[in-house]
């Protein structure tokens, strides 16, 4: 399989895997959403969802492993905060995909036009 490295400071394939995996769950997207605005404790998050504290803890762990959030302690609480850098990288990754795609599509359109003749 071909590995696409687009720029020097880019994410590894494994990192990209983890990031998209993290995004592939509504609860995690919501956690990301909430922790964009302000720092939220795990139990603060847990109260928002119809699942156990431990389940939410796991979701946070998945997102932390993907680099999408960071945790730090305040007293007995662990405050979760979204990590802007990773989201920005993800977005630019998608943008790059799409711009390359657009270019390719022009060629594809040309091919299809040829087919139609």
């Amino acid at each position: 399989m071909v590995v696409h490295r687009h720029s020097a400071d880019d994410l590894t394939e494994a990192e990209v895997d983890r990031i998209f995996r993290a995004f592939a769950d509504g609860t995690r997207r919501d956690i990301l959403w909430r922790t964009m605005t302000s720092e939220v404790s795990i139990s603060g998050l847990a109260n928002s969802y119809d699942m156990s504290f431990a389940a939410v803890q796991k979701h946070v762990a998945v997102m932390e492993a993907a680099g999408l959030v960071t945790k730090h302690s305040r007293g007995r609480q662990r405050l979760v905060r979204a990590n802007p850098e990773t989201l920005a990288r993800t977005q630019s990754l998608l943008a790059r995909y799409e711009s390359l795609w657009r270019r390719r599509i022009e060629r594809l359109d040309a091919l299809l036009a040829d087919d139609a003749e």
Copy 2:
């Protein structure tokens, strides 16, 4: 859990789940990549990867379910083609996330500045 609907023609939560899940695998990203340029048969794809035909078939099925590729027949072959619309939607979804995030970050920065005092 809060569901975020951003615009009328937007993807459902389940669709977003499937799309990100589809992206969370290197082989699938590569398939998407290759089928952006040109239509490729399943066996054409299968020759590129160190896995069975059936495995590649499954990856294509995952991407088709996510709306990222379409299939159509030519003779005995099934040609796989990337679906630009879904990628565009995904990209704009991420872009929307990020722009909202940027706005929120300004506020967050203000909060952190307060903390530092």
